[in-house]
């Protein structure tokens, strides 16, 4: 079992998803099942293979350094759950 209670909670922290106690068992069962499934790749030899992170083979397209100020602060804040004086507002952060 790769995912026990402790490692699952740690993973949840990293992903910023809280996991309630009643979900822990099922979740660890599911994740272990997925992990077991993907672990079959370990059988395949890939020492001489380069990884591909995108199948599209072309040069990275670039854009010119031009300014385009289409969006106002109101546009950007339109969907914000909490805002004030053109700022996004979050619970107090102590650095």
């Amino acid at each position: 079992m790769e995912f026990d209670k402790k490692s699952l909670l740690k993973l949840g922290k990293l992903a910023r998803i809280s996991i309630s106690d009643d979900k822990l068992n099922n979740l660890s069962k599911d994740l272990n099942s997925i992990l077991e499934f993907v672990d079959q790749l370990k059988e395949i030899k890939t020492d001489q293979v380069d990884p591909t992170s995108n199948s599209l083979y072309q040069k990275l397209e670039v854009r010119d350094d031009k300014v385009d100020t289409k969006n106002s602060a109101e546009d950007i804040l339109e969907n914000a759950p909490e805002k004030e004086m053109d700022f996004f507002v979050v619970p107090k952060v102590i650095e």
Binding site: L14, V62, D65, T69, A73, F88, V90, E95
Partner: protein
């Protein structure tokens, strides 16, 4: 001074400089990068990480990174990868920063700095492009933090040094030098007050012969003074800990500019796992040789080269040359003035009088009230003997206040020096004839009276007589 406080200890310092690319728009979006705009007024859908938004890279930023790499004598990587650095923070809208991890655009290089013990090479590990984060305001409200994304997505060049510095002075010199190179290249404006250039400083201490100590990173230092102070404080703190038998924790710390102390950052307490991986929204960045060559040809003369040229061409001392080339605008100013003039005189007037005026007025040379042409005119009038050095200082001050040219002021004030030998001879005759007693005493061996005659002659000329001619004539007359 510091060396004494931390005697018996080695300091090991490495620095990460974040230099904002001098671009009009952001690294992956077309939002403007102006400083001091209204909150969230320079934020595109991309910068705010709205669903479905995609990054498109700014060509200019790639060019500036490569130019900077060339300026840092570094290897330009023909293939580089943009990665995502994943972490959650209120000022990081995407939940990841697009940065470069394993394959940066620029590899190893070096810069040379001037130290007490002469030149020293500081290794550069790499330079990579990445996005800046937004800005959080914690003091607007007791219960909330306010977030402004104007900075979010601005292009930064992160320049990582090797841990090659061993004193706060070297660290400051290194940052100064990198800043100077970037400013010469025009890739970063180097404005530290506005945050265009910040330094993260890694400090550790160890006893000579022992293995390296645990390092702490002090984040976001935006002045040379703070860099120095933070390193001194941090070194002393670590030494004290070790001497008390405690150990140094590897951590990120903040420098308090008020108290001059560093403290652990609370929000960074939990260990990070950034889960870097290649950004699937961006393909690998490839540069071809011809393109790099083309950029190479646009690289201007850089401080080290200019310094060498100044020493050869104008016989400047290494010290003076260093001062002049440390800033692009200064060396340009100097070159403008020195053309067809006496380099020594020009050096004195630039690094002496002009600098002290600028200092007093708290001005940078770009905003100098005296243009290079004006200073040149002043130097000309010293060189051709029209005014004395002392008079020139007076003229310079007046130039500063009124903005008038040197000649105009000399004429207005009637300052122009008397260099006509006949005129001066009659002055000298007048003095000698009026003081026959003293002339006798002098001839009998009271040498000190020579100065008296000179002073009287100058007084008589209201200070305008060319002191050299006065000297020569008095010597000649008295020896007759």
């Amino acid at each position: 001074m510091v060396a004494q406080m931390i005697e018996d200890w080695n300091l090991v310092i490495g620095i990460e400089i974040h230099a904002q690319v001098n671009s009009k728009s952001k690294l992956f979006s077309s939002s403007p990068t102006d400083f001091g705009s209204k909150p969230n007024s320079q934020v595109s859908l991309i910068d705010a990480a709205m669903p479905g938004m995609l990054p498109v890279i700014n060509k200019f930023c790639i060019e500036q990174a490569v130019k900077s790499g060339i300026g840092l004598n570094a290897k330009i990587n023909k293939k580089s990868i943009f990665d995502r650095k994943n972490y959650f923070y209120q000022d990081l809208p995407q939940g990841y920063q697009i940065s470069q991890y394993k394959d940066p655009i620029v590899g190893e290089g070096f810069v040379e700095i001037e130290t007490e013990n002469g030149q020293k090479k500081i290794g550069v590990e790499r330079l990579h492009l990445e996005q800046d984060a937004g800005k959080s305001l914690h003091d607007q409200d007791p219960n909330f933090t306010f977030v402004d994304l104007n900075r979010s997505g601005i292009a930064l060049m992160e320049i990582v040094s090797k841990p090659d510095m061993s004193s706060p002075e070297e660290a400051v010199e290194y940052v100064r030098k990198v800043r100077s190179i970037l400013r010469y290249l025009g890739t970063c404006d180097g404005n530290m007050e506005q945050g265009s250039l910040r330094a993260d400083v890694n400090v550790s201490v160890n006893k000579p012969g022992n293995e390296l100590g645990t390092r702490c990173e002090i984040k976001n230092l935006n002045s040379f003074k703070f860099i120095h102070a933070a390193i001194v404080y941090e070194a002393k703190r670590q030494i004290k800990l070790i001497e008390q038998g405690e150990s140094v924790n590897q951590e990120t710390r903040l420098f308090n500019t008020q108290s001059g102390e560093t403290r652990s950052m609370r929000s960074k307490e939990d260990a990070h796992d950034y889960r870097y991986f290649p950004d699937p929204d961006l393909l690998p960045l490839t540069l071809d040789d011809d393109w790099i060559k083309g950029l190479q040809e646009t690289i201007p003369e850089l401080p080290d080269q200019i310094k060498e040229r100044f020493i050869n061409e104008y016989s400047l001392s290494s010290y003076d040359a260093n001062i002049i080339v440390s800033d692009k605008a200064t060396s340009k100013y100097f070159e403008d003035v020195v053309k067809n003039r006496n380099p020594k005189l020009v050096t004195t007037w630039v690094t002496g009088e002009l600098f002290s005026i600028l200092n007093k007025k708290n001005l940078i040379i770009e905003d100098s009230p005296i243009t290079s042409k004006q200073l040149g005119e002043l130097v000309d009038n010293i060189e051709n003997g029209k005014i004395s050095n002392r008079q020139a200082k007076e003229v310079l001050e007046e130039m500063c206040e009124s903005g008038k040219g040197a000649l105009e002021i000399i004429d207005e004030k009637g300052l122009s020096q008397i260099s006509d030998e006949n005129e001066i001879e009659s002055l000298v005759d007048n003095v000698l004839n009026s003081n026959p007693e003293n002339v006798k005493k002098y001839k009998n061996g009271k040498d000190k009276l020579f100065g008296f005659f000179v002073g009287e002659a100058m007084k008589l000329s209201k200070g305008k007589a060319n002191p050299k001619i006065v000297n020569d004539l008095i010597k000649k007359k008295l020896s007759q």
